[in-house]
Symmetry: C2
Subunit: 209 residues, 2 copies
DNA sequence: CGATACACTGACCGTCCGTTCAGCGCGGTG
DNA sequence: CACCGCGCTGAACGGACGGTCAGTGTATCG
C-alpha cells in the first residue's frame, strides 16, 4: 500500500520536529534545550511534540540516531572501494571535515551527546543508545588500521588506541575550525593530520641542517 | 597577623564544599549536580554553601579554578629544566596520564567544563572563566612545539593545530583507560603517543618485508 | 551562669520545565 | 447545513531545583 495522506503529514511533522531539535540543541546544548523552544522552532505547539514522541528522552534519542546515521553514511561512502591506507585515511578525514563544515550545528549536538548529562537514570539510557554509535565509528577506523598493519603498511600498534587518538584529535581541529573566522582550506588541515599520523613530526637527526 | 581560628574554620568549609562539588560534578555531570547533593556530600546544609559562595555559579567557577590550577602545576613541573623535545613531550604525557589516573573524578569535571551547558548567559560567563584555562594549556604546548621547530627538531607545522591534536587525542586515550578494567601500564600508552607523534605510524616502503 | 553573637540549619518560596488534557477549529460526511 | 472525528493547541499541573531567612544550637564573654 502506498503512503496514506496521514502518513505523509505524520512523517513531515516528525522530520520538522527532529530538525528543530537539532538546531536548538546545537545552539543551547543538550541540557538547556527546552521542549518549548524546540516546539517554537518547529512551528508547532509544545503538546504536538508529545503526539509524535513519548517524551523528551525519546525525542533526543531518535533525533540523534537519525542525525548520526547521516554522518556514518558519509564516512562509509568515503571508504568504498579500496586503495592504499594513505588514500583511505585521507578520504575519511576529508569526509569528516567536510561534513562538520557543512553541518556546523550538528557538530555541537554530536558533542553534547558525547558526555552525557542529566540524572544517572537518564545517563544510563543515553549511554545505551549513543555509545554504540561512537563505538561503531571507532571500531570501523580500528578495523582499517588493523588491515593496514596486516598488510605491512603500518607499524603494529593497538588499533583501538590509535583510532581513538585520531578521531578525537581530528575533532579538536574541527572545533578549532568552527571557532575561527577564516579557517584555512580543509585540505590543509587534512594534510596536517594525515602527514603527522603517517610520518610523524620529528626531523630525523641525519637530516637536520 | 596569623590566621585566626575563624579563618581556619572558614578555609576548611570552603575546601570541603569544593571537594564535594568536584566529586558530585564528576559523578553526575555539570548540569545534574544539585546544590542539595553537593551539600549532603560535604556534610553541611544547603544554606551553608551560600555563606561561602554567592551562588551556584561562583561555586562552580571557584572550584574549577582551584582544581585546574593543580593540574597546571603538575604539567609545569614536568616541563622544568630543559631537554630534547622528545624528553619534554614524554614528560608532559606521563604527567598528564598520571594526574588523571590519580584523579579520575576530576577528569569528568574537566570534561563537563569543556562544552558549556546552560542558558546562553551562563555559557558566556563559563566561557569567560574556563576557556582561558584551556587556551593557556594549548598555548603552553604550542610554545614548546614552536621551540622544537625553531631548533630544527620538528617539522614546521602549525603549532596550535598540533597542540590541539595532541591534547585532545591523548585525552581520548585517558578516557579509554578510565573505562577499562585493567588498563595497560601508563608508560605503554605514553610510548604509543610519543612514538606516533614523533615518527608516525607508516612503515616506509623501503623497509617493508 | 545568664546574655550575646554567630555559624549553621532546613523548611519554604518563586521559578522553570516536562508533561497532560480539555477544548478548539477544520475538513470530511451524510 | 449540521454533525462528527481528529490533529492540534496552550493553559494548567506537578515536581525539581536554586536561593532565602527565621529559628536553633553552641561557643564565648562578662
Amino acid at each position: 500500500m502506498a503512503k496514506s495522506k496521514e502518513d505523509v503529514v505524520s512523517e513531515f511533522r516528525v522530520q520538522s520536529i527532529q530538525e528543530a531539535a537539532i538546531r536548538v540543541i546545537s545552539r543551547k546544548g543538550m541540557a538547556a534545550a527546552t521542549m518549548q523552544e524546540i516546539a517554537e522552532e518547529a512551528g508547532v505547539a509544545k503538546g504536538t511534540i508529545y503526539l509524535y514522541f513519548r517524551d523528551r528522552e525519546e525525542l533526543v534519542e531518535k533525533t540523534f540516531e537519525t542525525a548520526i546515521g547521516e554522518l556514518h553514511k558519509r564516512l562509509d561512502a568515503a571508504l568504498e572501494g579500496d586503495g592504499t591506507f594513505e588514500e583511505r585515511l585521507r578520504a575519511v578525514m576529508t569526509a569528516q571535515l567536510g561534513f562538520f563544515n557543512e553541518n556546523r550545528e550538528f557538530f555541537r549536538l554530536y558533542h553534547s551527546l558525547r558526555m552525557p548529562e542529566g540524572t544517572s537514570a537518564q545517563q544510563r539510557r543515553q549511554k545505551r543508545t549513543c555509545q554504540p554509535q561512537f563505538r561503531a565509528r571507532v571500531d570501523r577506523l580500528a578495523g582499517i588500521l588493523k588491515q593496514a598493519m596486516d598488510a605491512g603498511e603500518v607499524r603494529p600498534l593497538d588499533p583501538k588506541r590509535l583510532a581513538l587518538f585520531l578521531i578525537e584529535g581530528s575533532i579538536a581541529i574541527v572545533l578549532e575550525r568552527l571557532a575561527e573566522d577564516a579557517p584555512p582550506p580543509e585540505s590543509e588541515d587534512v594534510e596536517l593530520i594525515v602527514s603527522t599520523i603517517l610520518g610523524g613530526i620529528a626531523i630525523p637527526k641525519s637530516k637536520r641542517s
